[in-house]
């Protein structure tokens, strides 16, 4: 299982890539593996807002339906509509093709709450 070092993570199993004031968000390799085959994704509208710790979408696998929790607050600048038609991308390439939304970060201080790859790995070891 991979946890790229240049990404930040949350305890709800999302990853965040920060570039300037834009954060790209998706779900982790561990999340896709636990979910199993993903069959459906629901994402917010472009231009909408997301709030830290609040659901911004839904992901459904053959096993379960789960909320997607936003790691940060801000406005949604871009949505990866391609994964709505091909949700299998989430299983195949969770850190690449299957990014979900891009958020213009409203509050920089929220970035400090995110976990590093090492911290996240340690967290999931404990959760197992």
């Amino acid at each position: 299982m991979e946890f790229p070092k240049d990404l930040k993570y949350t305890k709800e199993h999302e990853w965040v890539k920060v570039e300037g004031n834009i954060a790209t968000v998706g779900i982790t390799d561990y999340a896709q593996d636990s979910l199993g085959d993903v069959v459906y994704v629901e994402l917010p509208q472009e231009g909408g807002t997301v709030t830290k710790h609040e659901p911004f979408g839904v992901v459904e696998s053959v096993k379960a339906v789960s909320d997607l929790y936003s790691p940060l607050s801000g406005s949604v600048t871009e949505v990866n509509d391609a994964i709505i038609d091909s949700p299998e991308a989430i299983n195949e390439d969770p850190y690449g093709d299957a990014w979900m939304i891009k958020v213009e970060v409203g509050n920089d201080s929220e970035l400090g709450d995110l976990l590093t790859a090492e911290e996240y790995q340690k967290f999931i070891e404990e959760e197992k």
Partner: protein, 494 residues
């Protein structure tokens, strides 16, 4: 070991539309004894259809064989062990069907005047009373048509209560072990769901509930015993905490099969509860018939119950609609009446002592299964359980075998798989509820099958990966079915 699974004479059967042969008929209606009129001369043009497409042309024998063959592919409690956790797939005694099939019940029309339906009203009135007695609630409505419908009914009454006080509340607290219907019903009733973790080894702690409680909390919704099959033993203190903030304690009655006749939810501080007649009170379940989800409430919520209410005046029963604070009607007519008759028959036949013994036996059976399978499969929370127990695939994971593989292999041994991947708090959950109606021999054979499968997982995991092998249809591609669902017949390709 010997298995139940075998290859019987199961016949292939196409879709009924594919059996159609133009002009073939099953029934010849009698010829007209009045002159035929042209439909166009009687019905306005806009309302007249120009054909009746989409119906297959079939003979009677083709139709009968079609449905008989489909029924032979079926599996139900009447064909074998069906240990679905949290669903209470108990055997339903046939006497209940006999009673519900009495012409006095089946030939009643819902528009019949109440003077001519006194027996039905009396049965409903008495059933409300029995459910009140079993749960310790002050009043019961029989109207909701399923468990989740009952949840919605209870939550709408709670919402209305706060609205009537001029202080609407916005939140409902729900533990992470809840049935998915709990947050869904709360959302539908206009509440925001506040999740809370079961931090006390599978049960809720008072501290966690207190931390989530505030003056916006309309209710906390919990299931007791919860979906891990564990008794929420802090329920009384949780009730006190939510009452101190002016909120209600809603109990999802889905797991009432573990407690009926043993304790009353009212004594534990519960304010609202729904009964799943199709689980606990032995009525058809799982596609076998409509559900029924009566709701019991404490006196303070009684004015909000759906209309009509059944009242007894002297020796007569009547329907009362004039109840200004009621949330209104939730279902056409009076609920699923035929199901009420079955539940009534079951309760009368069992009696108070019988119901208590049913719960006790359900608990004993689940604990027997748990003790015998513990070690072969990882037990989620190793402590005495109530009517069901939860395992996981943690031990089998070492051989690359998942809960899904175990479940599919069980089919080859002749069993309906248990509930899998629920509750969500246990990864790879296998949730087994044997119910009180199974014999020791049936459970022993099931345990042997589960042990044999664990052994196969170790020595021949491929066997599990390719299961089921003995069924008419082998492992289906569930992922593709979900990603590219084909939901209706699209016609014969020509």
């Amino acid at each position: 070991m010997e298995t139940n699974g075998t290859k019987g004479l199961l016949l292939e059967e196409p879709l009924i539309f594919e059996k159609s042969s133009e002009g073939r008929v099953g029934v010849e209606p009698a010829s007209f004894d009045v002159p035929a009129a042209d439909a166009a001369s009687l019905i306005p043009k806009g309302l007249l259809r120009d054909g009746l497409g989409g119906f297959p042309d079939l003979s009677e024998i083709d139709t009968v064989r079609h449905y008989t063959r489909l029924s032979q592919w079926n599996f139900g409690v009447d064909s074998g062990f069906y240990p679905l956790g949290s669903c209470t797939m108990k055997y339903n005694p046939k006497v209940n069907e006999d009673i519900a099939g009495m012409p006095g019940f089946t030939k009643l029309h819902p528009y019949q005047s109440t003077d001519l339906a006194q027996g039905a009203l009396e049965l409903m009135y008495e059933l409300e009373g029995y459910l009140s007695e079993i749960s310790g609630m002050d009043a019961v409505t029989l109207q909701p048509s399923a468990g989740a419908h009952g949840e919605l009914c209870g939550l709408l009454m709670i919402a209305e209560y706060f609205k009537a006080k001029g202080k609407p509340r916005t939140r409902v607290i729900i533990p992470d072990t809840a049935h998915g219907t709990n947050p869904a019903s709360s959302h539908l009733a206009g509440f925001k769901v506040i999740p809370v973790k079961s931090e006390g080894k599978g049960v809720l702690t008072v501290e966690a509930v207190k931390a989530a409680l505030d003056r916006e909390t309309a209710a906390i919704m919990l299931t007791n015993p919860n979906t891990l099959g564990l008794f929420e033993r802090h329920i009384k203190e949780i009730a006190d905490a939510v009452h101190a903030k002016g909120g209600f304690l809603y109990c999802d009655g889905a797991n009432m099969n573990a407690i009926m006749g043993i304790m009353k939810l009212g004594d534990l501080g519960v304010d609202v509860v729904q009964f799943n007649l199709h689980k606990t009170f032995s009525t058809p379940h799982g596609g076998g018939g409509p559900g029924s989800g009566p709701v019991g409430v404490r006196k303070v919520l009684e004015p909000f119950l759906p209309v009509p209410r059944i009242k007894k005046a002297g020796r007569k029963f009547k329907l009362v609609y004039d109840r200004p604070r009621s949330i209104g009607r939730l279902k056409a007519f009076y609920g699923n009446f035929g199901i009420m008759v079955r539940a009534y028959s079951y309760i009368r036949r069992m009696g108070g002592e019988g119901l208590k013994r049913a719960s006790e036996t359900a608990i004993l059976n689940a604990n027997y299964l748990k003790e015998r399978l513990k070690g072969t499969y990882q037990i989620a929370f190793d402590q005495p359980c109530m009517h069901e127990c939860v395992f996981s695939d943690k031990i089998q994971q070492a051989h690359g075998v998942s809960t899904m593989d175990v479940a599919k292999r069980l089919i080859d041994y002749g069993y309906h798989p248990p509930t899998v991947y629920f509750p969500l708090v246990v990864p790879g959950a296998i949730m087994i509820e044997p119910t009180e109606t199974e014999t020791l021999e049936t459970m022993d054979r099931f345990i042997e099958a589960m042990k044999a499968i664990a052994e196969e997982a170790r020595t021949n995991p491929e066997l599990l990966k390719n299961a089921p092998a003995k069924t008419k249809v082998q492992r289906v591609d569930e992922t593709r079915a979900a990603r590219e669902p084909v939901l209706r017949w699209k016609g014969v390709k020509k």
